[in-house]
């Protein structure tokens, strides 16, 4: 009798059991007649993925819930998070400014019409500079020519004449 049992156990060890054999073992298990080895075989059977739904209760009982991966969050130290945040802010601002600057285009509007031809724009810009420079150069020269002391003396002379 003992010999037969051992033989059966060997069979269980060597190959996977099918559902029919599993049902027999489960029945035996509920009757409290299974050996340690038979229970190990049952464990092995129930640990298989994609078993028929009818084994769900047994799987739960034997502790074979679908394993959930517990992903532990790797958290950076607080100062590192701040450094990263500041780096992100400066990078985004710098990128934004660079993109914005590159998008700034030169143009001229003449009588409400927009001109984008670079040569024409340059010529128009030069015209406005010339307009200003011709007048202001004269002004600059005039300002240089003015001697403040002489001017004050001249103005005071007027009053000297009155005093005399």
């Amino acid at each position: 009798m003992n010999k037969i049992k051992i033989d059966k156990m060997k069979i269980y060890e060597s190959k996977k059991i099918n559902t029919r054999e599993a049902d027999e073992l489960l029945e035996k298990y509920y009757d409290g007649l299974t050996t340690v080895e038979e229970e190990r075989v049952l464990h092995q059977f129930l640990s298989q993925p994609s078993l028929p739904e009818k084994y769900a209760a047994e799987q739960a009982m034997f502790g074979y819930f679908k394993a959930k991966k517990v992903v532990q969050k790797r958290q950076l130290p607080i100062y590192m998070r701040w450094v990263a945040m500041i780096a992100i802010i400066f990078t985004s601002v710098y990128t934004f400014q660079t993109l914005n600057a590159s998008q700034l285009k030169s143009y001229a509007i003449v009588n409400g019409k927009k001109i984008t031809n670079t040569e024409k724009i340059k010529a128009i810009a030069l015209t406005s500079i010339n307009e200003i420079s011709s007048t202001n150069s004269e002004v600059e020269e005039s300002l240089k020519a003015i001697n403040p002391n002489k001017l004050v003396n001249e103005q005071l002379d007027v009053f000297n004449n009155l005093a005399n």
Binding site: S106, I109, A125, S128, I132, S142
Partner: protein, 148 residues
């Protein structure tokens, strides 16, 4: 995530401040907006490589012909902008400023210059120039006034 929420206003502020041009805080901005697209007006804006020759970072000018009231409007704007100027030069003709040069205090590390002139021709011609430069504003001014 919490940190990001706290920093979001700062990021937005930085982005918007970088978007705003240095000219946007000046009153003369209104002149370009008001007269830029009108008939008899020539407006130019130069940026980037177009200004390599001048060492400017930004150049904006407007020439206004035959627009009554434009001169006075510009003078009012310039009077407000003068408050932030470190150097002011002006020439008065018949009690009115016919030429004004404002060297404004730097903004975003850029020196800013405003030049205005109203000629007495017929029709009167008004020229207003706004310049941003990384160079010394005196040097930049010399360069402009030499360009004839």
């Amino acid at each position: 995530m919490e940190t990001l929420k706290k920093l979001l206003p700062l990021v937005l502020l930085l982005l918007f401040s970088s978007l705003a041009s240095a000219q946007s805080d000046l009153e003369i901005r209104k002149v370009f907006e008001e007269y830029g697209k009108k008939k008899g007006v020539v407006m130019v804006e130069l940026n980037g490589s177009m200004l390599d020759e001048y060492d400017f970072t930004s150049f904006k000018s407007i020439i206004i012909s035959d627009q009554p009231g434009a001169g006075d409007f510009i003078r009012k704007c310039l009077a407000k902008d003068e408050a932030g100027a470190k150097k002011v030069k002006q020439v008065l003709t018949n009690g009115k400023a016919s030429s004004i040069i404002l060297q404004l205090s730097p903004k975003n590390s850029s020196n800013r210059i405003i030049l205005f002139n109203e000629s007495n021709g017929t029709p009167p011609k008004i020229t207003l120039i706004y310049i941003e430069t990384d160079e010394n504003s005196d040097e930049a001014l010399k360069l402009i006034l030499k360009k004839k």
